[in-house]
């Protein structure tokens, strides 16, 4: 599979929707779906001040590449870009972007949803949520 179809990045600076869009855009495609995961103030009734992401970078890149390859094969995508942020992300900041491009829109929607769902299940990245009165690793509360 050509490298110019897949763009995987883990970045410690703010993510760029344009960067993901420009990577996947090409004249074979009529539909591009972008998912942008942002930091919201309220989670299960608790007030969030910011998040902190850490990754097992080498393995995260491998797992994300696996997801991208599967998405291309399964849905017939032309190209896919997956960027994940590490470090501190404030309210309304971007944690993750997935861009999927295909000839027709249905495949782009399905692939994008598949990619974010699987990323959340499999990719070794962890989120620490900072609340007004403390912090904890998400999914790891005792």
């Amino acid at each position: 599979m050509a490298d110019n179809k897949i763009d995987i990045q883990i970045l410690s600076k703010p993510l760029s929707i344009d960067a993901c869009y420009n990577f996947v855009l090409n004249e074979k495609c009529g539909g591009i779906d972008l998912f942008v995961g942002t930091v919201r103030r309220w989670n299960k009734g608790e007030e969030v001040t910011h998040l902190l992401f850490e990754s097992y970078e080498a393995m995260a890149i491998k797992e994300m590449t696996k997801i991208a390859k599967t998405a291309i094969e399964k849905f017939g995508l032309e190209s896919i870009s997956m960027h994940h942020r590490v470090g501190q992300v404030d309210l309304e900041g971007i944690a993750v972007i997935i861009a999927a491009a295909s000839k027709h829109r249905k495949a782009a929607f399905e692939a994008c949803e598949y990619a974010i769902d699987t990323l959340k299940d499999d990719v070794p990245i962890w989120k620490k949520e900072f609340l007004k009165d403390g912090s904890y690793w998400v999914n790891s509360r005792p």
């Binding site: 097992y56 393995m59 994940h84 993750v96 974010i116 070794p124 990245i125 690793w137 790891s140 005792p142």
Partner: protein, 78 residues
């Protein structure tokens, strides 16, 4: 044997890398047993995974000092 720790595992062992002296574990199952005994706080948390050479590994996978071993608590990216 060197073990990379992430997320809550880093807090439990008190660092991003844990050095295990001696031959305590020949496979993933034995490593988990050793860790749960040494750091009982692991038992309070949901189960964690072990990655060997950057891939998820089940209990039977053999491990040695030359492998890259990591503790993977429940992930929460995205």
């Amino acid at each position: 044997m060197k073990v990379l720790c992430f997320g809550v595992a880093k807090d439990i062992v008190g660092g991003a890398e844990l050095n295990i002296e001696g031959q305590h574990a020949q496979n993933v199952s034995e490593l988990k047993e050793y860790l749960n005994k040494t750091f009982p706080k692991f038992l309070e948390y949901k189960s964690y995974m072990v990655a060997v050479n950057q891939a998820y590994a089940n209990d039977e996978i053999s491990i040695s000092d030359s492998d890259e071993i990591a503790l993977i608590p429940p992930v929460s990216g995205g």
